[in-house]
Subunit: 127 residues, 2 copies
């Protein structure tokens, strides 16, 4: 993943309405949700919703399909996964067990018991 693409994706998520929409669509799964229903649930005008959902779509986190007069928005799973990976790439130079103890649990099962003591603290500067 290219850094500018990641910045675009993160910018699109860095806004309360859009983050809410995103999480709504993640929860909805492959079925997605029509624009009107999202606007209604969120109590924001249709034009404002359209602006935000377009931002998410431009960023590649969401995709859409037309069904009659409706536009159904849906999470774009592969791109979401790519973004997640990008954020923690090469974590601890390949020892993520060093630093991500019992946290990323709802989506991840970090294989821990690898014998290396977690949370090592080293004094001072180095390379």
């Amino acid at each position: 993943m290219e850094i500018n693409k990641a910045v675009t994706a993160l910018s699109s998520l860095a806004q309360e309405s859009r983050l809410t929409i995103f999480r709504m669509l993640v929860k909805a799964g492959p079925e997605g949700m029509p624009a009107g229903k999202i606007a209604e649930k969120m109590k924001i005008p249709a034009n404002t919703l359209s602006f935000h959902v377009k931002e998410l779509a431009n960023a590649g986190l969401v995709k859409s399909r037309k069904v009659g007069r409706s536009v159904i928005y849906q999470m774009n799973a592969p791109n979401i996964g790519e973004l997640m990976s990008f954020l923690t790439e090469d974590c601890c130079q390949g020892h993520p067990d060093l630093c991500l103890p019992a946290s990323a649990s709802s989506c991840c099962e970090t294989a821990t018991e690898s014998g290396i003591s977690a949370n090592r603290q080293v004094i001072g500067a180095e390379n």
Copy 2:
């Protein structure tokens, strides 16, 4: 995790320099890196770096400790994990295998083989 905290965290990542710093610190692991070295690697003035790294710290993604004259910045692993989880919480109403096929791999091992075909594609536009 509260939504405003997540928005703050994502805003702090939604900028090229900061995302680069963040990934640098994720890679560095618990040892962290002194401010001066980050600025040098990134070729940005010290005051600009200070501004950005402070933004990451305010968002809770990064923490710091003083060693002599240096300030060592370091990833804040538990908060990073929390943010990641928040983004994909309740994914597909509890069936993340429906939508996140083989993506979030560098940090996560999504238990896949659950019999439900992954990567279902719905007709229409994507990207």
